[in-house]
């Protein structure tokens, strides 16, 4: 089955089925659904962001827009929103990691007191290094606590707010926040430990 990011093509109309099958435990369907979402995101995110002002595009808006767009092209409605969002978040993580690798990131360190022209949202080279380490740490965590890894993907990578995550995972917001504290502590400790 050739899945294409082109939504008009044969790939559309199948995503719902794939998601359903994936939910029932079909591993291959899960992989294909993921590929589908990933390809779309890769293709679209860059375009959309170049066209739109980034400040008005919140991460949630990006994923929502994607959700709406994919929903439009499905013959059956995408009912499992949280499943979809989980895939999107994981795809985002993947894209970030790839990009970090391509940049040939260095390890964290160096003089932070450079003339840092754009602070919070811009990733300096050192940041990319951290991203890769975070990814490694997450892969280690996946075995013991996959749910926590999902949370990191949703919040840290995809930028959904705690309220949105709470709604989607059917937890209360305070629990989500606490879990993030734990994830942060865990990841930070791994990052600190990796310092030569």
């Amino acid at each position: 089955m050739a899945l294409r990011a082109d939504l008009g093509g044969a790939g559309s109309g199948e995503l719902t089925d794939l998601l359903n099958a994936a939910r029932l435990g079909d591993g291959e369907a899960a992989q294909q659904a993921y590929d589908f979402v990933y390809a779309d995101l890769r293709e679209r995110a860059g375009q959309s962001l170049r066209r739109m002002p980034s400040a008005t595009l919140t991460p949630t808006a990006l994923v929502h827009e994607m959700y709406l767009r994919l929903s439009d092209h499905q013959r059956k409605p995408l009912r499992d929103r949280s499943h979809f969002f989980a895939l999107a978040a994981r795809a985002m993580r993947q894209i970030v990691i790839e990009h970090a690798r391509r940049r040939g990131a260095q390890k964290r360190g160096g003089d932070q007191r450079m003339i840092d022209l754009e602070a919070a949202w811009d990733l300096a080279d050192a940041d990319y290094g951290q991203v890769l380490e975070i990814d490694t740490a997450l892969r280690a965590l996946e075995k013991s606590d996959a749910e926590l890894v999902r949370l990191v993907e949703w919040y840290f990578f995809a930028g959904l707010t705690f309220d949105e995550i709470a709604e989607m995972t059917d937890r209360n917001e305070r629990t989500v926040r606490r879990n993030w504290e734990l994830a942060k502590a865990f990841l930070r400790r791994q990052l600190d430990g990796a310092e030569p």
Partner: protein, 967 residues
Amino acid sequence: MSSTRDWSRVKALFISALDLPESERADWVAQQCTDDPDVGDEVVSLLASQRGPHHDLLSRGGGVALAVAASMATKPPSSPAGTHIGPYLILREIGSGGMGRVFLARREDGQYQRQVALKLIREDLTNPELLRRFLLERDTLARLVHPNIATLLDGGIEGNAPYFTMELVEGDPIDVWCDRHRLDVRARVALVIRICDAVHYAHRNLIVHRDIKPTNILVGAAGEPKLLDFGIAKPLDAMPAAGLTQTHGRVMTQEYAAPEQILGEPITTATDIYALGMLLYELLTGHRPYPAAEAGHASWAKAIVEHAPEPLARALRRTGDTDAVIEDLAHRRASSVPRLRRHLRGDLEHIVQRALEKAPEARYATVGALREDLRAHLDGRALAGDSQRYRIFKFLRLHRVAVAGAGLVLLLVAAGIAGVVYQARETARQAQTTSAVKDFLLTLFNASSPEETKGKPPEVRELLDRGTARIEHGLDDQPALKAELEGVLGRIYSQLGLYAQARVLQERAVSALRHFAPASPAAGVAMRQLAETLTEHGELEPAETLARESTDLLQTTGKTDEYIRALIALSVVVERRGDIPVAEQLAERAVATARAPQIEKAVLGDALSAQGMVEWDLRDLPRLEATYREALAIHRAAFGDIDLRVATDRQNLTLALRNLGRYDEALENARANVQIREKILGPTHPDLSRALYTLGTTLYHMARYEEAEPVLRRAVAIARDRFGENHATTATALNNLGLVLMDWHGLDEAEQVFGEALRIDVAQLGPNHSSALSSASNLGDVHARQGKLELAEQELRDVLDRERAADIKDEVFELNRLGDVLRQRGDWHEAVALHREALEQVKTMFAPNTRQAALSHYFLGLALVAGGEDAEAETELRASLDALRALMPPDGAHPYAASTRLALGELLLKRSNTRSEGLRMLSEAAELRERFLGSDDARTREARQVLTRARAQIWQDASAAKPDATH
């Protein structure tokens, strides 16, 4: 770290420990883990990692991927150390970011021995247009020479990538510097005052920085702050409309963005003032103003646009900050927590809040004003007091100035811009124009105090007209400003109901924006507004084209709110053109899109409102009612009770409730609708016409004819006056008036009125449009009642034919009317067939127990009586009464019921066992007619005559039954 089981325990312990005060956590954990100290150690170790402020990637909140995705276009960086860019030798890279990279460089050709910072802009961000503009900017920026601004030295283009060099500044970002040197509040304010000087200087040179934040302000060893990176600033006089500021593709620092930057609205000097407010806030409290965003509960964009800034003093103690952190904050400001808190109340709070106002025009008018207030605070003087602009804005906020609302406020912004431009312009002509615009606007405001404004279009109009003329002749070299003012004035005209003028202005705005900002959201919005005006004006075809163009454009811009509004506008015009299925689709799409959580609720209300109007399905009235009620609730919650959107919802609800037979509720809503519109729009606004005839027809349905007539006459008068003699709305108003006249006291006038309505409908909408057919049908009915049966038959047959040809399923009225005419002409057989057909349609199309059902049963009954089918006739007539009773509880009191009772009564009189019931029916009929139509009405007299005759007959028969004693 071992097993999953252990991890669950660690997790649970960690999370519970967070509930405890920091000092107690380690002990508590130790207590819990006496059985397994390894787990305990793990938890404690994690808790240790969690504590304290960090500056790594994990502390920046969510959404890293977005930043990365934005820079995905970057080609893999090559390392140019040792190479040349222009005449500069690159020494090493010293920074990089979303916009480009910064290098340490040195000029090689003997000039400028010192080292400079060279910023290379990302190639992919540029295009020929931007390159050209960049070169222009370079000249502008080089003009900026100020001790607190990092000087731009040089710039050029290397290959395809622009670069520029600037003074190398070494130092700490201002927040770090302040903390490191433990500057107290006064010293920090003094530092900000110096920044204000620099920004003020830039503004006088028509340059807005647009990206002021701590990392853009470095403080050197001597304590002199320098403002960096005016690289994305643009001179005001070349400022394009909103859309173009974004094609730069720059990833903006979201947390420091001003609301207008988030919303894609014009950037002005006020944007810098907001940033200065943010800077102050952070230097004073160590936090940003939006706790929800800082804590990750809300996105920054949403917080900036919607949340009110937290008071300074309260920001010191944010949830999640430990005591140590708060103490540290105060320590770094050379103060104690209670003293700091005191210092941050009062004037400083006022200054910061004003600088952070969401609406640009509400902030300080100039940086100079902000600086003055800061200085006054340091000197211990009182603040300058609210400037006139601020007063104006606060006043507007307090009293709902209905005339222009946001439009007026925007005009004041324009005045603000005009003011700044005036500052720098030398030419007398320019000065005259812009200050005249400013004066005009202020005069406009002064004339528009709430007491004077409502219902006084002439005076305001005169001012507007003058203003329009001035703008037309004065601002050719500032196309952006001109288009903006035109758009705004257009809106005001439209709100006043002056559609012709609105249209001229809006057309101009659209064509201007099409010319120089064709892909911008502003252009899309302007198109939508013009489309709405055209729709009002009845020009549906061009309106539809424009609305489509608007939706197509806005769909790609990411401004979903505006996209939804455009969809709504499109669905409205498509519905008016008669293509209901497409309109329904559009409305549904609008609602679906609006239900996304990040969309403002009020927009969802608008979408629901539109959907209800379009999806008028009489079979699912409960759902329709629910839709309208939801829209109404949303709008009331967002805007209060006196608001045009609320009025529209009430209007829609009126119609739904009417069809559900809940007339009293419908009437309540109809009255509210009229009241709201009158209050906001004044007594002669064209929209009032529609509201009035909705009220009028509601009263008509309740048979309250005497109240209905004046209301409908007023609706007609307004429509004639504001829309003209040949407008569809005038025709509808006339038609509705005709209904009352026909049923009550003015049959001949009804004939005139329907005739006129028909004429207009045919001319404006075509003879096969449902409105035209409606009027024609009504006219036929009048003729029937006048006894002109042959004419009536002709007319009604014609209508039916047209309806059949147009595949219009609802022929109920025509079938019944024609059937009744035929009965009167003696052809009861065909009459029965027609009435039965009508009943069939009623059953399939409408909810049970509607007026249509009642009427159909009634007419069928009459026809059956004519044909001698008494038993069936009785069934039908009784069914009609039942329907009316259900429709108008408790007893179906309505003139139609009178007619039915008359017919039924006469029928019942024929059988001896139903005589008394029959008599009762006749008596009730007479009573009803008397009540609704008055004693002098011909029909009342008729009923009374029938009653009298019947009584006489019964009396006679009773006497005859007595044995005749004599011969």
